[in-house]
């Protein structure tokens, strides 16, 4: 029995950065914990999990886990939670995590706090905060009447401490999925146009609005993004105009992002846009109107033409980083 179960995500055995954030928090808590990982390559996470002090890595590498399937994943987590009885489950508040864990909670009498932005874990207490009302306020979440407290952390909310050598290796335990008649079948996964990190997990985002003047100028954002290793986002105005796909929209009816750096280019800063990015650590605004509301949320701003400024920034960052 471990006190915490940490769900680790990976691409073919390559652990995701967000999962390192969770492992760092689990280690820091001083509590006993084990980790869980699923799908092809999951076992390769054992050494990383061990380095952070996980006692055990629970896995299944059955084919059904190679892509997310809500029924199979829910059942597997239900089995693991019933067997291991963790008091706390830590996972990432991404699209998969938010689809899966509320359902798992329903199965194992859990409580869930989604999109948490702060976490204090110790033997005596669990303290989490999360935004509400589109980040116009935040609350502390108190868990009640539940057997497991499920905490879904926003990407980039927790720091990472790199750990490489393990005191003792974690045991790798295969937990086979109990027989299930799946009524959900994943037919296909259509890869997005960009191979970049998803906006919700990106640590730097370069975002464009109507002030970019036309879809052809998004190239300027791509150029800057590729120098910074950033992902590209957009306002709803340009998504609705068909310049870019909806998966790039940041805001109330798009994605909620929390990068370390958000660069808003030609975006006015409507309340619905701010709802999706105001928890970014540093916000840079580039806008030709010095009274644009985005400047009130910004850390830094340049008043001027984004089409002129973007190439200048790209050049300057190139000098710095290459």
């Amino acid at each position: 029995m471990a006190q915490i179960l940490v769900y680790l995500e990976h691409n073919n055995g390559q652990i995701k950065k967000t999962s390192l954030e969770l492992l760092t928090a689990a280690k820091k808590s001083g509590l006993d914990f084990c980790a869980a990982a699923l799908g092809k390559g999951a076992k390769e996470l054992a050494s990383t999990a061990s380095a952070y002090g996980a006692k055990e890595l629970l896995t299944s590498t059955a084919d059904v886990f190679n892509t997310y399937n809500s029924e199979a994943y829910t059942q597997w987590f239900g089995q693991v939670i019933k067997a291991k009885k963790p008091q706390i489950l830590l996972a990432t508040a991404n699209l998969t995590g938010k689809d899966l864990f509320p359902r798992v909670a329903g199965r194992v009498n859990g409580g869930v706090a989604t999109d948490c932005t702060s976490l204090e874990l110790s033997a005596s207490s669990v303290k989490v905060r999360r935004p509400v009302y589109s980040a116009k306020a935040s609350v502390e979440v108190e868990f009640q009447n539940c057997d497991v407290k499920i905490i879904l952390m926003r990407p980039n909310a927790l720091e990472i401490k790199n750990e490489t050598s393990a005191a003792s290796p974690a045991t790798v335990s295969e937990v086979a999925l109990e027989p299930i008649d799946l009524k959900t079948i994943v037919k296909d996964v259509v890869k997005g146009a960009s191979s970049k990190v998803d906006l919700t997990e990106a640590s730097i985002i370069v975002s464009g609005g109507r002030g970019m003047k036309g879809p052809e100028n998004f190239k300027l954002l791509e150029d800057l993004a590729s120098v910074l290793g950033a992902s590209v986002g957009a306002s709803r105005a340009v998504v609705d105009a068909g310049w870019v796909g909806h998966d790039m929209q940041v805001g109330q009816t798009g994605k909620t992002v929390s990068p370390n750096l958000y660069i808003a280019c030609g975006i006015s800063g409507a309340i619905q846009h701010l709802a999706g990015m105001s928890s970014s650590k540093v916000i840079v605004a580039i806008n030709k109107d010095k009274d644009a509301p985005i400047f009130q949320k910004a850390t830094y701003g340049i008043v001027g033409d984004a089409l002129e400024i973007l190439p200048l920034l790209t050049e300057e960052f190139k000098k710095l980083l290459h």
Partner: protein, 261 residues
């Protein structure tokens, strides 16, 4: 079949949030209440499916909330074209588990339910939980963040497209009955027509008291406390004038002061 939609009334996106003196909720006065934006997509999808089937299928909308205001969100859905509406009269701010439990008990009494549409999240508590919990309690399949939903030709499954990480899309086949959490992009919600609005005003709305659904205090799994407004951001450093010099300056500050590069 019956096509169900679960709706929530939420403060309008422009609402200025003030925290009340107990720190346990926001100030409820002066709020303009609207249908949760994602729920508009849910209603539209239900209406589209009904019209496409045109086999006598009906769209039935449910909401849970304080009767005095929440009834309005049902009127809006009726005005858009829903056939019938049910209100579960309940106090403010029930937690997601209690809401899902209540809805599941009520929905189990409906016959021939093929699908339940919801929004992928409500923009007040932003929990993104009720849809999945409801599916679990009903024993239905579910999919959230859905941007395309089609009933298969055998009328026994849905072919659903949902957004996943990295701008990718997952195409899944789920057997009926299912709970579908709507994302923007699923469709373009219609406006209520004038005759629709007139008709909706006269329509009788069925009411169910929460107390009849067997929800108890122990169904509450999470409680919100210590509400806070976001911390004030320090005064921004805004540069005007020579854009070339300002760009150099900005890069320097991001590196040396903000330390994010």
């Amino acid at each position: 079949m019956n096509i169900l939609v679960c709706l929530k009334q939420v403060p309008d996106t422009e609402t200025k949030i003030k925290i009340n003196s107990t720190l346990a909720a926001i100030e409820s006065s002066g709020i303009k209440w609207v249908m949760n934006p994602y729920d508009e997509f849910a209603v539209e999808e239900a209406l589209k499916l009904r019209d496409k089937l045109s086999d006598g299928s009906k769209v039935l909308v449910y909401t849970l909330g304080p009767k005095a205001r929440a009834v309005e969100v049902l009127r809006t859905a009726l005005a858009m074209g829903a056939d019938d509406a049910v209100l579960i009269d309940a106090p403010e701010n029930l937690d997601p588990n209690s809401v899902a439990k209540a809805l599941s008990v009520a929905l189990k009494k409906e016959s021939d339910v093929g699908v339940v549409f919801t929004g992928k999240q409500a923009i007040d508590d932003d929990c993104s939980q009720v849809s999945q919990l409801l599916a679990e309690f009903l024993g239905f399949r579910h999919a959230t963040v859905v941007i395309k939903c089609e009933l298969g030709s055998d009328k026994n499954h849905f072919l659903v497209e949902r957004e996943v990480e990295g701008g990718s899309k997952e195409i899944i086949q789920i057997q009926k009955p299912a709970v579908i959490g709507a994302q923007k992009g699923l469709n373009t919600p219609r406006y209520a027509s004038l005759p629709g609005i007139m008709k909706a005003k006269k329509k009788e709305i069925k009411e169910i008291p929460l107390s009849s659904l067997g929800v108890s205090d122990t169904d509450k799994k999470i409680n919100f406390k210590n509400f806070q407004l976001p911390p004030e951001r320090p005064q921004a450093k805004i540069f005007e004038g020579d854009v070339a010099a300002n760009s150099v300056q900005l890069v320097k500050l991001l590196r040396e002061e903000a330390k994010v590069i």
